[in-house]
């Protein structure tokens, strides 16, 4: 594998160079509130590689919260319909992606593109993408990627991977596109001692989870079997379901969740015109799984909760994602009004807590 070094002061050059060809996205801190967002950088200098894990999952780049995917015009007199698919094709570069979030995006790839049908809208967002990941040399409070095999260092799927070695970053190349960029920047080569240093940093980071990542202690592997085989008592699910406020947040913030809704909206400026919107949706909503005629296979709220945790924690879902659906980012624990983020659920299932 080819490896290079880049001085800390120069690391911004990567985003700068990418900015010539790509729309650049990265982690940034909102000044008024101190909240980190993974968002489009109007100015690449805004990108902050030492910012904490972004509050929002980077999935919004490939799967926006609300997106016009089609517009159509129906002409009553001629009885004709004009349809325009509305694909976003601008090439995008993600700079400073956290490893868990990359794992989440790979799950989305497999959901949207790896099955029988390929989702064209997603494909167009994703196809020319350049990805620069950033190893977490320290974890954050709510992290548990170590339990879900998705961090604190990325293993595959990047073009370049950065690791903060102190004074400089180790730059690992993961693709031809990555190699070309490294060449363009004339980076200094790295050697095995740097790789060893990286390994040390990653081991240190893992060791830090005990003291730093205190919000989310989840022993994921212990519950996967039980969730897969359905060997979880009903009253455990009921205890969890009673605490769900049906807000949808856990789905929205999850880097691997892919539920969406399609709605057609009349364009009031033009008779017979309408836009087709795709928006984030959530399996925690009663209306999501409701079918015409009133039949709802997952009516009680505990059944809908059960669906989400099944999706995140069962072996059967692994066939689709080729890994657990949960990538250990801990965001759902941040935003859940019912305090039933995935780590708590894992604890309840594992210890059969029912109240």
């Amino acid at each position: 594998m080819t490896m290079f070094l880049i001085k800390k002061a120069d690391v911004g050059k990567i985003a700068q160079e990418l900015g010539r060809e790509y729309q650049v996205y990265g982690p940034m801190i909102e000044k008024g509130s101190g909240q980190t967002f993974f968002d489009r950088a109007e100015d690449v200098a805004e990108i902050n590689l030492s910012a904490p894990i972004p509050s929002n999952p980077p999935k919004s780049v490939v799967f926006p919260q609300m997106e016009r995917i089609l517009s159509y015009e129906y002409d009553r007199t001629k009885n004709t319909v004009k349809m325009e698919p509305d694909y976003e094709v601008t090439p995008k570069a993600l700079v400073g992606l956290r490893p868990c979030d990359l794992a989440g995006m790979l799950c989305l790839d497999r959901f949207f593109m790896g099955q029988e049908f390929v989702d064209e809208v997603y494909l167009n967002h994703r196809k020319k993408m350049f990805i620069v990941t950033n190893t977490c040399v320290t974890p954050f409070k709510q992290c548990f990627c170590v339990c879900t095999d998705s961090g604190p260092a990325a293993g595959e799927g990047y073009d370049l991977n950065l690791t903060d070695l102190g004074k400089e970053y180790l730059v690992e190349v993961g693709s031809e596109k990555g190699a070309a960029l490294a060449a363009k920047l004339s980076l200094a080569p790295a050697n095995d001692s740097h790789l060893a240093l990286k390994k040390e940093k990653v081991d240190q980071s893992i060791a830090m989870f005990e003291d730093i990542a205190v919000d989310s202690k989840a022993w994921v592997s212990r519950v996967m079997n039980r969730v897969t085989t359905g060997f979880v008592k009903d009253d455990v699910w009921e205890y969890i379901g009673d605490q769900c406020f049906e807000c949808g947040a856990c789905t929205f913030v999850c880097p691997s969740c892919s539920c969406f809704n399609i709605a057609d909206v009349n364009n009031t400026d033009c008779a017979g015109c309408a836009d087709r919107l795709r928006t984030w949706d959530s399996c925690s909503y009663e209306g999501y799984s409701r079918m015409a005629g009133g039949h709802n296979p997952r009516k009680p709220v505990e059944d809908r909760r059960n669906k989400r945790f099944f999706c995140k924690l069962s072996y059967s879902q692994m066939k689709k994602y080729l890994r657990p659906g949960c990538v250990g980012c801990g965001r759902c624990a941040w935003v859940c009004p019912g305090d039933i983020g995935l780590p708590n659920v894992v604890t309840y299932v594992r210890r059969e807590i029912t109240g």
Binding site: M28, E30, G32, S33, G34, Q35, F37, D39, R40, A41, E42, E46, S55, N56, S60, P64, Q65, M66, E67, D242, Q243, F245, E246, C247, G248, A249, F252, N261, A263, V265, N266, N267, T268, D269, L277, T279, D281, Y285, E286, G287, R290, G294, W334, V335, C336, P337, G338, D339
Partner: protein
Amino acid sequence: MNQKPGVCTFCGTGCGHFIGTENNRITRVYPSQNHPVSKGRLCVRGWNIHELLDTPERIKKPLVRADGGFKESSYDDAVARLVDALKKYPPESIGFLASPRSSNEEQYLLMKLARAAFKTNNISLDSDSGHRASLNVLHAGTGMAGMLGSIEEIRKAEFILVAGIDITRQNPIIGSEIHMARRAGAMVVTLDSRRTQIAKLSKKFLQVKPGANRLAVLALAKTIYDENLSDAAFLSAHTEGFEKFRHAFGLLPDNEVSDRTGIPAEEIKAVARDLAKAKSAMVFFSSGISGLDEDTIGFIYNLFLMAGKVGKEGCGVNPVAGLNNLQGGYDMGIAPDLLTGFQALEDTAVAKKFSAEWKADVPAATGAPIYTLLSDPSSKLKALVVVDHDEGIVRYADAIKKLDFVAYIGAFKNPFAEYAHVVLPIATYVQEDATFTNTERRIQYSMKKIEPEEGLLPGWKLYAMIAGKAGLSWKYAKVSDVMDEIARLTPTYAGVSHAKLSAGFGMQWPVDEKNPQGTRRFDIAQAGRKLSFYKVSDVFEVPAAKEQFPFLLMVGKAQHFWHQNNLMKKTHIPMREYNATLMDYPEGYVEICPRSAKEIGVRDRWPVRVVSPHGEMRVDVKVSEDVKPNTAYAPYFVQEMISRFLLGHTEVLRQGEDATIPVRIEKV
């Protein structure tokens, strides 16, 4: 980065969010992690607010009536028509129905317009106006016309009573805070006739018979008194009028309490002891659309006062506002008898201060709330100005049709506009800087996110234009000037300005010289007065089921408010969610427990006839464990049901959530 901070404008919780835009359109929303109220959470409504803010269902052009329909017009023409129409009538024939969703600045200017330009005190808030009952009690008792506690302090309360409010549905993020407090060990008790989600999440649930809330609260108070659990030193040092309240205890027939409330006497006593021994305690209730009535709220306040749980950290008697700027509406003087900051209109010094600032006299004649006028067949109301009606149903449609003139001012399409002669569009709340005051008195700044559509005026400019045509000259260069004027006239807002608010997450009033950063909660040390017990009634009639009418039917309005809400109808996902129940029971439903269903011989979704002494209706039954035997629950959200059956019971409905109708339920 494209993330603009703001406030969710669906309910009175006032959660913080960030809005993303593209090409001058709203495309997304994300919770604000460090916001002191919501701390990174939003509910189903808040998470989908971008669907509303991007709706094409907007009013974009001024419209005037012509040949039975509407024709597009200009602001100039439409405003002239409005002013000419209103000028034809004496003040008592003009009315203003304000929206609890408008910003403080817009509320204030509408209030000023009604009084300074059209000389009328006929002005009131649409929807949820029952909040006034709570403010009356708290203002009389403590001088603070708002929530005494604070959402931020919920986790400091050792005891929390949730009285008659389905809080995880109405104000979900406040419900979440209560749930978090419970998980951290607080004693959370729910007092309700239906088993709500918060009832399931509480440590104790007192399932009270419909209509007996007051009695249950009195029984709690009496236990504290009988067992000598109140803080005598607190009572004598800080309160007055306890003797009068104590009088009520003597009238409580001990042996009947459990029978009439449906709660075992020992359970009531245990909760009273929990309350008394907790170092800090809060109560949440709603006096909104159909929350508790003023008398019951008086009892609740008195209970917490005698228990010594007012004015200390982690304490609070907390009315919950269902709509985002309901509290702000009252703060801005949208009531016939109020000016801003709950200052009494009849106080001549206050009226003089306003007249001097306005350079126009504040009218002295008594006004009345608009719905009172519309329901009174002998009322003189002839012309009505309505702003952003919030509901999908127009009440008193017949009376409105009979008016000579109706003007509708709003940002979103609404069925109310169909009754109007003049329709004036305004910008949405993300198209102008604005402030909103949440249920815990937090005044929050919401920065403009996108430009209004070409030619569209924000509300404050439209009101200034109307005032101009009516002969006044209002000189506001920018919307922040309006807040400066509010601050000059309102002691509780004295230290507020847009510049100060834009720096953080808002400030809780009073914001004044003594409290330049605002006031988190009512503080006994700063009160400078004794707190008075509220004057409550001493008649404890509880509606009783009779032989021919063995069920007590509760009519839930608040719980279903969002089903028929005008804004909700302009979203996709929240609308789908709120309609999920409606799809199972398209004609509405009456909820009874499995035992009652068995006795009547019906199953879920079977039709029944509900018969009361005053009318009858046919609906489907919903069978659920959430109600007790011989009680029934009907949601107030299906138009048909309201007009066919419930309107015949308006007297009962006016009494609020405690309103119950004895009925018979028959299989058909």
